[in-house]
Symmetry: C2
Subunit: 223 residues, 2 copies
DNA sequence: TGTACATCAGTGAACGCGCGTTCACTGATGTAC
DNA sequence: TGTACATCAGTGAACGCGCGTTCACTGATGTAC
């Protein structure tokens, strides 16, 4: 069955086929695909990781999903919408990771601040393509605005954590400023890391040490 | 003389022509150009700013410089080399600004640390395209390595400034770590800023206040 | 259960586009005499 | 000062390429009866 395929890139496509077989138990059950939308999103995500958001192409995603280049337009308005889906999924994934990492630590502790920073940087280095993509949305359109709001929510979480470290249940300007400093720091560290700028002697301590040091300097110990 | 031009984009090109007239006193003195190399670099820089590093095209730079699309290949190996020239010029420009901003402040003061951060962020917001471009070089080739080294030099300056704040003439691990924290912070702040993520209530104080706050928390007052 | 039919997810061919780069060329410039 | 010539910076046409998107189509599916 595999031998009848006409697509080009041998090994890569074989792997896709194997995955498809695993999930659908045969190559293509019929003329209809059944799950093309999510499979195109997954192909888009992979390509964004492999080539970067700017080198993603619809054509290549189609090749990878094994459909014609016209197929995506039954599911997405255009290329931008495909990328936006991937970005949105990334935001959600990052949020989930934050919540999971937060869970074991009691309220109002530095450990929670550190946990948030750890997830931020871990996500960036694990999925640099998607991470970059998440920051390329201008917020001009309504759809962009939704993405933008997801980011805002996450920042509000950081602000709340800082406030709780100060024994407050309401966010004050001081918390906003400190949350902003923390965010800038982990954002910069993430980008320096995925841009390969930390190769040599530039990051003299391990990540946990640096995160703890930053938290200590910006947010007080629990009361 | 201007009316004889055959290029398309009206106003834009008129402006270029005016600039060219100012610098050369007439449109094109002859078949030969005289200063095409630097004029192509300037066109490349402009386009990197206007469209972003990933949307720059050689063709458009040629249109803007008023030459055929084959002309650049008498001066540059390929597209990458054109972009690298712009990136390198950016690094130099940023260094010069740092030195200038450093000059008025006495050695070993927080003011010098703040000055470096101020230039970093100011450069990023003034030239976001070039700033982005400066961080896209992998360092794989020899030419990339030169760019990389320029970045290293600048980081060494920050490390030295931190050491001097501690009354040292030799950089120690503590200085490296603090310099790294400062760098991450301004780098993150720069990217958040040029990616338009600071629109709302996210940056609660002005830049100078935040810079001073960060310097205070990471580097001690002068002895 | 069997048939007619509407729906709609996929096809494959085509489109126009702008791109990076090469090529044989041309014509202005500077130099040797 | 005038002429012959080598140099080389620019031309313009062409190349092959991959792209995003549209189009009329086809054939599998689910539903009404």
């Amino acid at each position: 069955m595999l031998e009848t395929l006409t697509l080009t890139s041998g090994t890569r496509h074989e792997k896709d086929q194997i995955m498809k077989m695993q999930s659908k138990s045969k190559k293509r059950a019929s003329y209809h695909h059944g799950d093309l939308r999510s499979q195109l999103i997954e192909a888009t995500r992979e390509l964004v990781e492999e080539k970067g958001p700017d080198n993603f192409s619809v054509s290549e995603a189609c090749r990878r999903a094994g459909v014609s280049t016209a197929a995506p337009y039954k599911h997405f308005k255009d290329k931008t919408e495909m990328l936006r889906e991937v970005a949105a999924a990334g935001m959600v994934r990052q949020s989930e990771q934050m919540m999971a990492e937060l869970a074991p630590h009691p309220d109002g502790t530095q450990a929670r601040i550190i946990a948030l920073g750890r997830v931020y940087i871990r996500f960036a280095t694990a999925e640099p393509g998607v991470f970059r993509l998440m920051f390329t949305w201008s917020g001009d359109t309504d759809d962009d605005q939704k993405l933008y709001a997801l980011g805002d929510e996450k920042f509000a979480v950081v602000q709340m954590e800082v406030a709780k470290c100060h024994g407050r249940q309401v966010i004050e300007d001081e918390d906003r400023q400190k949350a902003f400093m923390l965010w800038s720091f982990v954002h910069g560290l993430s980008f320096l890391s995925i841009d390969g700028k930390l190769a040599d002697n530039k990051m003299p301590a391990d990540l946990e040490t640096i995160l703890a040091e930053i938290a200590r300097r910006i947010v007080p110990e629990a009361a």
